[in-house]
Symmetry: C2
Subunit: 128 residues, 2 copies
DNA sequence: GTATCATTTGAAGTTAACTCGTAGTCAAGA
DNA sequence: TCTTGACTACGAGTTAACTTCAAATGATAC
C-alpha cells in the first residue's frame, strides 16, 4: 500500500505519516526496491490506532513511549498497562471539564434564545 | 484585587493574565494611580469564564470574538448564540472521540491484566 | 529519450498558546 | 536615602504538532 492510499484511507496527510515515522511514532515502514514506502495491514492498524489516540488528545510523546515499550516485547506489559491507566485518568478529567463547559454553554444558549424571544415580543407590542 | 491575588485564586499565571488582556481576551482591566492592575469582581468572572471555556478546548480566537461581540451590546445576541452552538457541536464531537478512545483503552487495560495473570499462573505451574 | 509525476530525505517554517527576558517605575521598609 | 520586591510594557523565546520547501530519484506516458 502506498503512502497516498494510506493517507486517503485514514485522512492523514502524507507529510504527517512521514513525520510520525521519523519521530518513531510509527514502527519503520518497509520500502520497495525503489525505496518507496509499502504499508502493510499491520502498519495501517498502527496508523488507525494513533489516529484514535490522538483524537482523544494523547500527546505524541506518550504514544512514542508506548510504541517503544511495545517493541520491547512482553516484559513491558505492566508498564504499558500503567501508561494506559494514567492516560485513561486524564481523558476522564478532560471529559468532566468538557461536560461542565457544555452545561454552561447550554445554559447560555437557552438564555440567549429567551432574550431573542423577548426582544421580538417587545417589537410586536402595539405601543411601539 | 491585584494580579497576584487573581493569579492565585484561579491558578492562572500572571503572564497569562497579562497576555489575555493584551490580546483582547479579557476586557481591559483598570489600573490604580500607580498604573497597576486592579481587578474587579467582574474581571474575575471573566477570568473564570475563560478558564472554563479553555479547559474544554475552545480556541482563544473564538473567545476573543465572543468578548468582542459581547462588548458591542444586545445587537449581537444572535451572533453569540450561533457562536456557542457551533462550539457546543465541536465539544460534543470531541467527547464522542474521547469516549471511543476510552473504551479502547479500557479493553487494552483489561487484556493486559489478563496477560499478566496468565504469566503469573505459568510461573506457578509445577512443571516450570 | 525526454517530460511529467509521485516519491524520497532532511531542514526550515508555521501556528496556537503561552512564557520569559529586559529595562524601567513605584511604594514600603532598614 | 538606599534597596528590595512587586509590578509595568513589550519583544523575543518556547513547545507541540505539524507543514512546507528544496533538491534528488525513479517510474511511467508519450
Amino acid at each position: 500500500m502506498t503512502i497516498t492510499e494510506v493517507s486517503e484511507r485514514f485522512d492523514v496527510s502524507q507529510d504527517t505519516l512521514r513525520y510520525y515515522e521519523r519521530i518513531g511514532l510509527l514502527p519503520r515502514v518497509n520500502r520497495n526496491k525503489s525505496r518507496i514506502r509499502d504499508y502493510t495491514e499491520k502498519d495501517c492498524k498502527w496508523v488507525e490506532f494513533i489516529k484514535c489516540m490522538r483524537s482523544a488528545g494523547l500527546p505524541i510523546e506518550v504514544l512514542i513511549e508506548y510504541i517503544a515499550l511495545f517493541q520491547q516485547g512482553d516484559e513491558t506489559i505492566e508498564a504499558r498497562k500503567e501508561l494506559f491507566i494514567e492516560q485513561r485518568k486524564q481523558i476522564i478529567k478532560r471529559m468532566e471539564d468538557m461536560k461542565k463547559t457544555l452545561e454552561r454553554l447550554d445554559y447560555k444558549i437557552t438564555s440567549y434564545e429567551q432574550a431573542i424571544i423577548d426582544k421580538e415580543k417587545a417589537l410586536r407590542r402595539p405601543e411601539d
